[in-house]
């Protein structure tokens, strides 16, 4: 914590007489007013985005609603290792592990729920995942909900979400790690 001393701005007699400055200030606000009132839609300085009709595209690295990535057969890549739930600072991920029918795979998540009321969208779960099974690249924010229960997003919903490029696998996803092929998770 540093203290910063702001130098006092001294005003000239002209500025202290106030009235010319009032006129100048009115000029500034009126210029903006008329530029927005009469200006062409494309060039006026207005900043407002008419939200529900017009939507800004989120930046590429925007951390949006989580999604679970599927394997080629549609089952989640998740192996229920609890790494994400452990990394989560908000304790919002709830996993119930069950034995996988696939002999190559030890466990699968019988339930995988994210409580969006608790989630702080920090992305630590994505970083913690050794299987690249959870990502936040859906490009959407959590849809609004009215009941508390609706805020808990379950496994099937998370699995159904697509990445920003419109495919289940995300940008440059390498499906080399299907099953337990043992390759190290690649960085983006």
């Amino acid at each position: 914590m540093t203290i910063h001393v702001r130098e006092r701005v001294s005003f000239s007699a002209y500025e202290k007489s106030y009235l010319p400055e009032v006129v100048r200030g009115l000029g500034i606000t009126l210029r903006h007013f008329f530029a927005n009132l009469l200006g062409r839609r494309a060039t006026r300085p207005l900043q407002t985005v008419r939200y529900p009709e017009v939507r800004r595209i989120y930046p590429p690295r925007f951390r949006g609603q989580h999604r679970l990535l599927p394997r080629a057969n549609g089952s989640p890549r998740c192996v229920a290792c609890y790494m994400c739930a452990t990394a989560c600072p908000a304790y919002c991920i709830h996993i119930i592990a069950a034995e996988s029918p696939d002999p190559q795979i030890e466990k699968y998540p019988a339930a995988f729920e994210i409580d969006m009321l608790r989630c702080i969208l920090c992305g630590l779960c994505v970083e913690a995942c050794p299987e690249d099974a959870i990502r936040m690249d859906s490009g959407i924010h959590t849809p609004p909900f009215e009941a508390r229960d609706d805020a808990v997003v379950g496994r099937m919903d998370l699995l159904a979400l697509l990445g920003r490029n419109g495919t289940p696998a995300a940008f440059g996803a390498q499906d080399t790690r299907e099953g337990r092929s043992g390759a190290a998770p690649s960085a983006f």
């Binding site: 910063h4 701005v9 000239s12 903006h32 007013f33």
Partner: protein, 422 residues
Amino acid sequence: MFLLITTLVKFVVFALLFILPLAAVLTWMERRQSAYSQDRLGPQRAEIRVFGHPVRLIGLLHVVADGLKSFFKESFAPSAADKVLFALAPLIGFVTTLCIVALIPFGPDLETASLPGARWLLSQETLRAYPVIPLQVARLDAGLLYVFALGSLSIYGAALAGWASNNRFALLGGLRASAQSISYEIALGLTTVGMLIVCGSTELSEIVHAQGRDVLFGLPAWGIVVQPLAAVLFLTAAIAECKRGPFDLPEGEPEIIGYFVEYSSMSFGLFMLTEFMEVAVLGALFTTMFLGGSDLPWVMRSDGWHLGVWQGVPDFLGLSPSLWNGLAGLVVFGVKVFLVSALQLQIRWTLPRFRYDQLMHLGWKILLPLALVNIFVTAGLVYADQSLRLLALVGVAQVAIFAVVVALGPSHKPIPAPAHSH
């Protein structure tokens, strides 16, 4: 009987069909205008469906929505409040402001006989007794004095609201309002004295009438021509009197919310409406005092008071010249009031709020002496030249010098940003 009916009709038309709706529209305008000045859009989404089609009317429906919402909310009074005064306070400001409307001349006089149907409805005696209908609810000789009397009464609304709420912040707001009002009332009264010297009457339609004549190269003797300094001082003092920004300390939101902190529902809405009615009434008063009322120079000269551009066009569309003149006067007056109100809103959204010591400094040490100087200068100039030509010359010179000063003002170097040390 005739007088009673016309007075009632005029009051309903001017106060309830002009000032009140204007105040309601101003609540919306303030939000839209400030938004556009700040590169925002402002409220524009209130919507009704007409035969399944959404109708938005550029956000004007927000006025209706806000009004309806106010009516349907719970009207709550704190248990420790003074119930009678608490209920009375919003009404005091509202009623006094509404009463000022009665004094304002909205247009030139109408010839009674020129009204459609007057010849059938009215007897000869009535027509002879009331040859003209002034477009002014009450033609009172005290005029301006009465306006100031009511204006200072309206502050009781704020002061009593602050007191009756039994809330410290509300009380602070009420105290601020009364102290500010007392300080600026003096300056407000004195700024108009120059105009009274020029016009020779306190009666408002006489003041408008006096402004209609030529003084200098076809310039009308409008207040802003012969008394530009007084016009600026009057507007400043009157905005302070109305508790509007940049003088809105009684309701300074970041510090003390204001004297209406405990009010809810429509009793709060009444305070809100009163504030905007004051804007509209001040606009009307400024128009009357300094912008020549319903007079429009070079187009609709009211040399003889009810002569106009339609003088030579008899019975256009079946209506008489006098009626056309009256209607045109109403429109001109309405436009001027609207523009002055818009200017007040723009001032509010341009200037930051004053500190309390700055407010008192401005009122007592700047406005008051300047108003006194203005009185003596005006009196001297009028004494030297009864035709007001000299006064107008000085006035035009004042405006010209100010314009030159603003135009040639020092170039503005940006204020250096504080060195950020994160």
